[in-house]
Amino acid sequence: MTTPRELDAIIVGAGHNGLVAACYLARAGLKVLVLERQPFIGGAAVSRRLYQDFTYSNCSYVCSLLRPEIIRTLELPKYGLQVIPYEGGCTMMQGGGHLALYDNHDALRREIARHSKRDAEAYDRYSRDVMRQCKFIKPLLMREPPDPTSFKPRDLQELLYLGKRFHGLGEQRMYDTLRFWTMSAADFLDEYFESEIVKAHFAGSSIIGTALGPRSPGTAYVLLHHYMGDIDDTVGAWGFARGGMGAITQALGASFEASGGSIRSAAPVAKILVRNGRATGVALADGEEIRAPLVISNLDVRRTFLESMDAKDLPEEFLRHVKNFKIRGSSGKLNIALDGLPRFPAIPQGSPCTRGDMHVTDTIEMMERAYDDWKDGRWSRAPYIDMLIPSQIDPTMVPDGKHYMSVFVQYCPYQLADGPWDAAKRKAFGDTVINTIAQHSPNFKDLILHAEIRTPWDIENEVGLTEGNIFQGELTMDQLLFNRPVPGYAQYRAPVRGMYMCGSSTHPGGGVMGAPGANAARAVLRDLGRAH
């Protein structure tokens, strides 16, 4: 493929962050080419037909974090993105009974009161404190973290900004924030709630995608990371994308092409080319070389620097840090085609809470024990699962009367203690999950038409995420802000001139958020001396 005009930038990987970066650059007038290894775009935000006319959101499954400013600026609704909010959610209890979740504060408060009056009171305090933390962090998502070791005006200015915002919280809130960022979710929730079911429900989001247990310090932040979406008052900040998660990346792709960008799928990049410490383009697997003065990688840092570049082009200390960057596979996924709607006796008929995410882990101890299994290199015997039936809200995903269920599973190791993954082990893992669900739904097993079982190993091989880690790197204290992905290189710029990182390995991290892509694009444009 020949390009009429010289390329300004190549983006490696058409994941949501790659496409977001591409959109911003194209809108700024750059000639941008996005290269995707797979025959389809989207990375881990895809809708795929793997069984008859069922559409699976077969990796990410909920549209929660995508920054509203990105949706607006890139006009995603105009290009087909339509987000439908959750109507509820629930956690079922082992002995029957459940905790229903409503997005309406008072309704949820009343529901919590069913389990504990005291916790209903505490819930006001809890949501106020969590929202306060979100409001503190939200503006930091779309900014470039400073390098605290640098004396450059930009870094000092950014440090000052952070200091000012922090100081603005007031003394007591500052202490709360210090503690919040470093606490375990279990300890954090213990400071509010007494009811196991209530704690278990809120603790769920503290472990999703994370190789830590709810008792590990730092998980309170992960809990918050998943809340980041639902504090914007924009409709659908926490919901389903019509047509599956692919709708997001399809809209991004359309928006990108509408502003003159081009995408080549089934074009795997083998090497990022460097000459005299400067990126000069990429070489595809088939040997074709494409030149551009700017190369922006949407891949995680390990893929980018250890697999797509020569060590000789990179500083030794930088490489050591990249090798030490923790990217751990801890999550699995099942996508299940159902012949009808499964019954959940614990949930009253007609309750909206089957129309959101459903859980069956009703104590924090269960989650912690599930994590203990992962530490020993086996999948959780009683896994934490986050299941959704999007076809209830979006019938276009399935044939009439059928349903699609997305089941996210924590924990599932990338490497098993007893040797590599194989078909039998994958099936055994799938059965563990299916049996867990069946305990709460008598007719579930009979309804299964097809089940796609995805281990971290499968996710790595299909999507290219190292170890199948959904965040392109653990969201631990040592890997956030100016430490993400590598101390001294948290500003989206690689140690090679003309090369940038725009994946979730960079600040502020994973989830279908788009912030890393937008921030990287801003860094590129600043270096080019153009306004964002």
Binding site: R215, G218, N324
Partner: protein, 527 residues
């Protein structure tokens, strides 16, 4: 000890004659204040005491080693002049390896038993960790600043802290900022191959902590220990002659010599408040003692909730105090042995040092798993000393005492310590037997001091030897809780000086000294 005339009024009365209370008393007395120390037990020392656990066999019932007390503080107190003698100093650490091997952690010995790669990595690692730990030392001996105040003292303290870290230089500073939030498991995996080395180094990070090696924050606890040791200087791990009790006796003599009055066997019932100000204490005997200020070396929960009473505090503060995590997970095992214990492959000289049972990081993590669910470790990890190897006076001639910290043994054991105690002792002795075949046969007496016992015997809530977990959310300027992190409390005239304050526990004494300096700032004739 001198008995004060009940009539006397003191500038300060100190609740608790543990090492922090005594250091605080000595520092105040040197500052010209009249001080009275009130100790509930019959002897001073709190959890740092020596006592008989089997006829003829004595042991340091709580802490059994001294390695964290700053050299300058020891010089200040001049304890040698008050009868302190050392049974051993600069004690070596030896990791017991399954199958009769051993790994000495001394720089050059380690070099010999490790692969060249590990040996090289080990010296780089120790050097770097020392540099990072040394950078944190000044932070220990200072009062934590308050955030968000307009006070220049606080701002300067914060800037000084920032500068301290900056001074490390870019490379070390980045490394510090990266690893400080990490878990020790990953840190050691990044550096070493040797399973035994990783296990041994990992144990020091979780000893006394409510953590496993994989818990983020364990690099902080490791740096805490290293900083303490760095402040303690060359003497390293040391064992006072006569045990920690003898050490605290010397401490008490030093305080008394400086003019402090110490009354033992006088438990305090409550702190007296008049006009929102602490004006003295009431003893359980009913006797009331007036003082310009009340300083408590008791843990924060005991101080605020029992001795003071929630009604004198606002609800937010009380909630914070209630949420201090202070449930201990470390038990003390004391064995009376009718002969010298023989650890396979361990020389006599190593037996005079510290022995570790922590064969691998995974082993420690598995031991920790039990504690998360209210069980004691099936295969515990241990820090072992044989005090009689350095100090025969602790046991009848030719016989020996084994003193070990056993982890994990949770304060709130699900099955209850009534039935759990013997099973926990057996688990620990089994673990020992694996490295010292035949040990069981020479046991003539055994005692397990559980966290529950520590609470009962030493009055520390939860039996936690740090008076509260050392973790980011209970560290430095939020230790023990915001509003009391500067040794002052919301109640005028009431101060804290115990391990619950910055910088925390271990026989360190810094909290006591920092608190005293805070008290000395308050002029005597202030209302």
């Amino acid at each position: 000890m001198a008995i004060a005339s009940p009539a006397a009024r003191y500038d300060s009365v100190i609740i608790g004659g543990g090492h922090n209370g005594l250091v605080c008393a000595a520092t105040l007395a040197r500052g010209g204040r009249s001080v009275l120390v009130l100790e509930a037990a019959a002897q001073v020392g709190g959890a740092a005491l020596t006592r008989e656990f089997t006829p003829g066999f004595r042991v340091s019932a709580g802490a059994h080693l001294l390695h964290l007390m700053p050299a300058d503080l020891l010089r200040e107190l001049n304890l040698e002049a008050h009868g302190l003698e050392w049974a051993a100093q600069g004690m070596a650490t030896t990791a017991l390896v399954p199958g009769g091997g051993r790994l000495s952690l001394g720089a050059e010995e380690a070099g010999r038993s490790l692969t060249p790669e590990d040996a090289a990595a080990y010296s780089i690692y120790t050097a770097r960790m020392r540099r990072l730990a040394a950078a944190l030392v000044p932070m220990f001996s200072r009062v934590p600043p308050r955030l968000g105040t307009t006070g220049w003292a606080d701002r300067i303290a914060l800037l000084r802290l920032g500068w301290q870290v900056r001074k490390l230089g870019r490379r070390d500073m980045r490394e510090l900022l990266r690893i400080v939030g990490m878990n020790v498991y990953d840190l050691l995996e990044e550096n070493f191959d040797s399973t035994a080395l990783k296990g041994a180094l990992g144990l020091d990070a979780v000893l006394g902590a409510n953590f496993g090696p994989r818990s983020p924050g364990t690099v902080l606890t490791l740096l805490y220990r290293l900083s303490g040791e760095s402040a303690a200087g060359a003497s390293g791990l040391s064992q006072p002659k006569g045990g920690l009790g003898a050490f605290c006796d010397a401490l008490a003599k030093a305080a008394a010599a400086l003019g402090a009055t110490i009354r033992t066997g006088t438990p305090v019932a409550s702190i007296r408040i008049e006009g929102d100000r602490a004006v003295g204490v009431v003893l359980e005997s009913g006797e009331s003692i007036d003082a310009g200020s009340v300083i408590s070396s008791a843990d924060p929960k005991t101080t605020f909730l029992r001795l003071l009473g929630p009604r004198h505090l606002d609800t937010g503060f009380v909630r914070r105090v209630n949420h201090i995590r202070s449930q201990g997970l470390a038990a003390k095992l004391h064995l009376a042995l009718n002969r010298r214990p023989e650890f396979s492959g361990v020389s006599d000289s190593s037996l005079r040092g510290r022995l570790l049972i922590a064969p691998s990081l995974q082993h420690i993590e598995h031991a920790y798993n039990h504690a998360k669910y209210g069980e004691f470790s099936a295969a515990p990890v241990m820090e072992i000393t044989v005090p009689t190897a350095n100090d025969p006076s602790l046991a009848p001639a030719g016989q020996h005492v084994l003193s070990a910290i056993v982890q994990y043994a949770p304060y709130a054991l699900k099955e209850g310590w009534q039935s759990g105690r013997q099973r926990c002792i057996d688990a620990a002795v089994d673990a020992l037997e694996g490295y010292a075949p035949g040990l069981r046969s020479c046991i003539v007496g055994a005692e397990l001091v559980t966290p529950a016992d520590m609470q009962a015997q030493f009055g520390m809530s939860g039996g936690h030897w740090h008076h509260g977990d050392l973790a980011f959310d209970q560290f430095f300027m939020v230790r023990p809780v915001p509003g009391a992190a500067q040794y002052r409390t919301p109640v005028d005239g009431l101060f804290l000086c115990g391990a619950g304050c910055h910088p925390g526990g271990g026989v360190m004494g810094i909290a006591g000294r920092n608190a005293a300096q805070e008290v000395l700032k308050v002029s005597l004739n202030s209302p």
